[in-house]
Subunit: 101 residues, 2 copies
Amino acid sequence: MESLADYFKVFSEPNRLTVLETLRPGPLNVTAVVEKTGLSQALVSKHLKLLTIAGVVRRRPEGSLVFYEVIDKSVFQLLVQARKLMLASRRQQLDALAAIL
Amino acid sequence: MESLADYFKVFSEPNRLTVLETLRPGPLNVTAVVEKTGLSQALVSKHLKLLTIAGVVRRRPEGSLVFYEVIDKSVFQLLVQARKLMLASRRQQLDALAAIL
DNA sequence: TCACGTCATAACGACAGCGTGATACTACAT
DNA sequence: ATGTAGTATCACGCTGTCGTTATGACGTGA
């Protein structure tokens, strides 16, 4: 996680966001995430690894299972704020369009 | 701007963030941004176009110049919050490392 | 009209990241 | 020991995007 851009990059992938959302309610092991998301196991593992490296998620082996959980739930605040800005931007664009037409 | 991931993608590029930061104090024309950032003119134009499409920035032609300005300055709030989370994540990682060693 | 400064776009090569299929690794049960 | 379920990783093809160079388009002043 060198730059701020790299940090944003973590959340710039739909499937990765899906995985992250899956962990919102609480810790899950890999297979559970696979089932909830419908993504392939290899892909889920990759995204979880990336989220771990990014420090967003914590890895906790438990027997033969590996549980992942969100370290700081305030990341979801970031998602919320981003979504708000996104929607506001859309409105801005529509207004600009209306001004032209 | 389909998904939330796409919105994050807007801020996941170092040079694009640099351009955006340049516009923080106020509107600038393209050449001014080029000079402040040291990036090539073509590249700056591209990033500005993307930021415009994303609804982050507004394009305002004025004579032979084209000024760009940030529409909603609360995007910088997003950047700040992201940076905080990023730094917190780093601390988490160091703590985890220390626990192992 | 011509030249010039400003900005946008096209075409291209380079590279990173995604998703898949196959395979390795690990813990546990039989 | 062997098998099995769960997880990680490798190798690969593919697509998207980044940055550059070159060129096009537009407005302005001589």
